[in-house]
């Protein structure tokens, strides 16, 4: 039986909480800054 394909409008579902996603995003950006790949962030 063919497995169902996911369309772009598939509802967003995750086992990870929003807190965890916020940690992942922030630490990834911090890593980019630490490695010098993101040199400055203007304000």
């Amino acid at each position: 039986m063919p497995s169902p394909t996911k369309s772009p409008s598939t509802p967003i579902q995750s086992r990870l909480s929003t807190d965890t996603w916020a940690v992942i995003l922030s630490l990834s950006l911090a890593l980019l800054i630490r490695l010098g790949l993101l040199k400055s962030v203007p304000w």
């Binding site: 772009p8 630490l27 962030v41």
Partner: protein, 386 residues
């Protein structure tokens, strides 16, 4: 591109316009973009107006107080939300403001050295416990006096003593509260949070409070994290930093409080079978409820602390000065989206239509909590300069 299966359902976790109401439709990654763009436009409009007013008044030698972008972003958001309204297409993205808040708090960790956190966090924790014990007892008594149901009373007490909307949502499952009670409690907390944005800075300035004392007060007395951060930032940048620290200490208690209530309700035989099963593994329950962004905040602070070391080998492990500036600016951008969301989420009609009694209980309780925490802060400030 990330697949939609990897992403969180932000709307379900943080219902925006109608507090406590379950969203009708699910979000998609694409569906979040219009709302995030609206947050960015409203927030940037606030930043632009702040800059424009500063430049204009300076060029024309006009004496005008510096009104931070925070207030403009919130006001523009409230204006949109309460006049034309926020169309459905933007709502899912606007609801992501809590996500940006948490990301902003984590990165804000770069502006704290661990020693400061231990010192100020220690004072905050003592004050948090005193304020927590008072507000929980007082709100419970007030709810009973006004004949509110036990679940609504509990939700209001926990929401006002721990961390606002997150605590109410976490507690809802633990005590099997119905949707209407949660919605009412959230509405009361949000309405009072919105009022605090305008009253707290005025009181702080009238009492000539230091940034640190005011920030601690905002973090201890304002219930919802977004409003506490905004109330702090409206006073000054430094006050915003201390408000976040005090609020983070409160947030860290959420798991313990929800667990204690869940155990109490189970012992009284009031909890459902599902709620009882959830507290069998207490460690898993605590970890589930613990706000993970606190760990991210501490980790970034650790790297900032290492970077400030006088030992070059240790300092090389952490962030240098320009990296800290970049991280500080990142947190400002995240907060810019958050404050726009606070305004866009504030629908005054929705907030006040929940009935007078819960609002009165909330208002009386909040005024008492604000007064007691203010006295605590002023008392501590007398012996230990904040």
């Amino acid at each position: 591109m990330a697949t939609s299966a990897d992403l969180p359902d932000l709307r379900a976790e943080y219902p925006p316009h109608a507090p406590g109401r379950v969203p009708e439709e699910k979000s998609t990654l694409l569906g979040l973009l219009p709302g995030i763009a609206l947050l960015a436009i409203v927030g940037y409009a606030g930043k632009f107006v702040e800059h424009f007013l500063n430049t204009y008044t300076k060029a024309h030698h006009i004496t005008f107080p510096n009104i931070e972008y925070v207030l403009w972003a919130i006001l523009f958001g409230i204006l949109i939300s309460n006049t034309v309204g926020v169309p459905r297409i933007f709502r899912a993205g606007v609801a992501t403001y809590e996500f940006w808040l948490k990301a902003g708090i984590i990165v804000l960790g770069a502006r704290f050295i661990l020693g400061d956190i231990v010192k100020l966090g220690g004072i905050s924790l003592i004050l948090v416990f005193i304020a927590f014990a008072f507000s929980l007892t007082f709100m419970t008594w007030l709810g009973r006096t006004f004949n509110l149901g036990p679940q609504l009373t509990t939700l209001l007490a926990v929401g006002s003593s721990v961390c606002g909307v997150s605590a109410i949502i976490a507690m809802q499952g633990a005590i099997d509260a119905d949707e209407e009670d949660s919605s009412t409690a959230i509405a009361a907390i949000l309405a009072l949070g919105a009022l605090s944005l305008f009253t707290f800075p005025l009181i702080g300035h009238a009492l000539h409070m230091s940034d640190r004392a005011y920030g601690l007060w905002a973090g201890l007395a304002v219930d919802n994290t977004a409003e506490a951060t905004a109330a702090g930032a409206l006073y000054s940048d430094a006050a915003g930093k201390f408000a976040v620290l005090a609020k983070t200490c409160r947030n860290a208690l959420i798991g313990f409080v929800v667990l204690a209530y869940a155990i109490q309700w189970t012992r009284k035989g009031l909890a459902s079978r599902a709620a009882t099963a959830r507290i069998q593994n207490k460690a898993a329950f605590l970890w589930n409820k613990f706000p993970k962004f606190v760990l991210g905040f501490l980790f970034i602070s650790l790297l900032a602390t290492l970077g400030s070391s006088t030992n070059p080998t240790i300092a090389a492990l952490g962030f240098n000065k320009s990296q800290l500036t970049a991280l500080g600016n990142l947190s400002r951008w995240a907060f810019l989206l958050t404050f726009a969301g606070v305004g866009l989420r504030t629908n005054l009609k929705d907030l006040f239509k929940q009935g007078a009694r819960p609002f009165i209980v909330g208002a009386v309780g909040e005024v008492a909590i604000a007064a007691i925490t203010l006295l605590l802060i002023l008392g501590v400030n007398h012996f230990y300069t904040l």
